[in-house]
Amino acid sequence: MPIDFHLDSKQLHAAHLKLQAVYHPDRFINGTDQEKRLVVQKAAWINEAYEILKNPVRRARYMLEISGLELNDDHETTSDTAFLMEQIELREEMDECRSCKDPMRCCDHITGKLDQRSKEFSSSFISLYQQGYLEQARQVSKKMQFVERILEQLDEYQLKLEDDIL
């Protein structure tokens, strides 16, 4: 079955709601204990699927997994030194934002850079995946994970900045 990395998030959301409408435990208020137990598992499973597909990194990792790659999040790392250097620089830049004249704009600037990187990685993932270079695709997905993590940190950081300012 062909699997596509490009996903219409609205369509995904609609499909999720449609399934939840049938399998939500609220629909089984008067069911037997067995049905209640099974339907909670089912609904949890549907939610899990949605969470995986919704997030580009998890989606990419999942696609690799169902293509037969065994992934281990804890022990994987990237050996691309240029990429690692760039990550370190971005982190430093983030730490310096605080002393900058307009820290919020500074943060936005970094976010923009990261978003750009994440777009590049996504398209390179797609093309590697489609050509069947799964190992290389895995490398890229790892980088996507790095970018996602630093974006999250940036988010937290911005929140703290806002709290300090206001």
Binding site: M1, P2, I3, D4, L7, D8, Q11, L12, A15, H16, L17, K18, L19, Q20, A21, V22, Y23, H24, P25, D26, R27, F28, I29, N30, G31, T32, D33, Q34, E35, K36, L38, V39, V40, Q41, K42, A43, A44, W45, I46, N47, E48, A49, Y50, E51, L53, D155, L159, E162, D163, L166
Partner: protein
């Protein structure tokens, strides 16, 4: 039967009978009950036409008073008059100490249970039992109004409530003899009350709930009757009471009061402050009189706004975080619903409106809106509105973590995951022949376990002895639609399910709930054993009915002959047992049939997934 529901979503077992189901807002200061009375959902008054029931319980010599009558005795008999127990629901004695002196009760130091017990003249009681008394009064009020027993209730809880607090609320309902359809988050209930589910267009709303002692903010997405909580946040110790304190502090300064202030004086100051706050809702200025000090001063709204500015800003900070968590922009929010008495304060409405860039919704009584929403949901769950597609999808309010080396917490399920949710984790043994292991589950966002809320200690026993590191133990944490957690553990190599001994950190064990139930029932002189047998007999008939109807629909289609036969054999055995077996035997036979038919029920569910998904493109089938 729900097995049939699979093909017809939204249908319930008894389609022709109207079930009376109420919504209950179990609040810190006041509680309410609402119900659908011939098409109109409204809160119910007592015989004095009072809708609010103060959440106060008084333990007299030989009776228990609840509400206004209890409230009147608070000053004269404070130790036997319990209020604000919602603050200690699901809390340990240490937490209560950290709350300070707001609860002037005597706690029972020597009891084995880890649920704090307050000493009264009728013996020691827990917050759960006190809440049960409030629930009993409210359900009785509903039953008397409707002239019929309630089939079930929906009880609201703050979105911020953790597992232990939700479990305590459920236990209270159980003690009150209520069938809880669902614990519903208060903000979700408020959005339902405003009929925002009737909107045909998809939209995002915020619910700003500032009560007496708590603040909750929730971001919800609505589309065609489906409510989806995208994020929740807030502060469990921030509310209107803090506004009173802010005024009181200002008064102390202005009046030049020095030194220690005795509790009586503080009480007077707070009462005067509260009145001033309420006056300033409609007036521009008010006169505060302190009779005891022969002191009088005027407070205008501008000064008042200045006093509470920080507090309001704190709430807006939580709003910003929730918006971020929901991964949306502030501009995406079309409506803000105001809940809680403290949203009557003009500065709050003004600042919230300014922050969100829209006029907040405050047409409904902010004290009643939650109960009304709960009643609407109860009505749907009771099956009275088969054509209503309302579905409420909630999220986990606080991350679920386990303790790892060095007292650090490791996230298993992160906050704001849609419910229900299940996540599995694999462990291994670190000693040869190890047969047990302990897991500490906590809830919260902090890195150190000591900064999170301890939920429970699990002990896994019965792991088959193997060499160190070769056992693979899969532990599955599951949180149901109410936000309640359960744990399943299995050794993957042998397939052996490990026994789990749960020791809730601040909750009642199942045994404790049962013995409390027995106690309360023996008071009512009910024959528990015969009642439990009757319940099992009903359950057995329900199971048989479900099996019959399912088998006649697709039994032969989905099952191999031997599977089909083993189900019917088990079914026939159960049927034979009904008139003669004991409660335990029936329980066992039902359990047996469940095990045998698990696979079949799962197959039926899958078959109907296919039905739901037919006509979808490949992307979606990936689900």
């Amino acid at each position: 039967m729900a097995l049939l529901q699979i093909s017809e979503p939204g249908q319930t077992t008894a389609p022709h009978h109207r079930n009376y189901a109420a919504g209950i807002d179990l609040g810190t200061t006041n509680s309410l009950v609402a119900i659908n009375r011939s098409g109109q959902v409204e809160t119910l008054p007592d015989s004095n036409n009072q809708h609010l029931l103060p959440s106060v319980v008084h333990y007299a010599e030989d009776s228990i008073l609840v509400g206004y009558s209890a409230l009147q005795l608070q000053a004269s008999d404070p130790l036997n008059t319990l209020s604000s127990v919602k603050r200690i629901m699901g809390r340990g004695i240490e937490d209560i100490k950290s709350l300070g002196n707001i609860l002037p009760y005597e706690f029972d130091g020597n009891n084995d249970s880890n649920v704090p017990r307050i000493i009264t003249r009728q013996g020691s009681v827990s917050a759960i039992e006190v809440s049960a008394e409030i629930l009993k009064i409210l359900s009785k009020r509903a039953e008397q109004t409707m002239g019929e027993a309630l089939s079930g209730v929906v009880i609201t809880v703050p979105a911020y409530f953790d597992d232990a607090q939700r479990q305590a609320t459920r236990d209270a309902a159980k003690l009150a003899g209520l069938n809880v359809y669902r614990l519903l988050n208060e903000p979700t209930a408020a959005a339902v009350a405003y009929g925002l589910d009737q909107q045909t267009e998809e939209g995002t709303i915020a619910v700003y709930d500032l009560g007496g002692g708590t603040f909750d903010i929730s971001i919800l997405n609505l589309s065609k009757g489906v409510f989806e909580v995208l994020a929740t946040g807030g502060n469990s110790s921030l509310g209107g009471d803090d506004m009173d304190h802010a005024i009181a502090e200002w008064l102390i300064k202005q009046a030049g009061i020095e030194g220690d202030i005795d509790p009586f004086m503080l009480r007077q100051l707070l009462i005067a402050s509260r009145k001033a706050k309420e006056d300033l809702t409609l007036q521009e200025t008010t006169q505060i009189k302190l009779k005891e000090l022969d002191y009088s001063i005027s407070l205008d709204r501008e000064q008042f706004n200045h006093l509470i500015e920080d507090l309001v800003n704190k709430t807006l900070r939580s709003c910003r975080r929730a918006i971020r968590d929901a991964k949306i922009e502030k501009e995406d929010i079309q409506n803000v619903v105001m809940v809680g008495g403290s949203t009557r304060v003009p500065l709050v409405v003004e600042q919230v409106g300014h922050f969100f860039g829209c006029t907040p919704l405050c047409d409904l009584d902010p004290d009643r809106v939650v109960a009304i929403g709960a009643a609407l949901q109860a009505d749907v769950l009771a099956g009275n509105k088969p054509d209503q597609e309302m579905l409420l999808l909630d999220v986990l309010p606080l991350s679920l973590c386990i303790e790892t080396m060095g007292g650090l917490s490791e996230k298993i399920i992160s906050r704001n995951s849609p419910l229900p949710v299940a996540r599995a984790q694999e462990f291994t043994t670190f000693k040869d022949g190890q047969t047990a292991m302990a897991i500490h589950v906590v809830q919260g966002e902090r890195e150190l376990v000591t900064d999170c809320r301890s939920l429970a200690h699990f002990e896994l026993r019965g792991i088959p002895p193997m060499t160190a590191g070769s056992a693979r133990i899969k532990v599955t944490y599951q949180v149901d639609a109410d936000g309640l957690m359960s744990v399943i553990a299995e050794e993957l190599r042998s397939g052996i399910k490990a026994d789990i001994v749960i020791k809730p950190s601040y909750g009642l064990t199942d045994g404790e709930v049962e013995s409390m139930l027995r106690d309360s029932m023996s008071h009512a002189k009910e024959d528990i054993d015969s009642r439990m047998l009757a319940e099992q007999q009903v359950e057995a008939r329900r199971v048989i009915e479900a099996i019959d109807s399912a088998l006649s629909q697709d039994g032969h289609e989905l099952l191999a002959d031997d599977e089909y036969n083993s189900i019917t054999t088990a079914r026939d055995e159960l049927e034979k047992l009904i008139p003669e077996a004991t409660t335990e035997q029936l329980k066992k036979a039902i359990k047996n049939i469940e095990v045998i038919s698990d696979n079949y029920v799962a197959k039926r569910m899958n078959a109907s997934v296919q039905k739901v998904l037919s006509g979808k493109n490949i992307n979606e089938v990936e689900i």
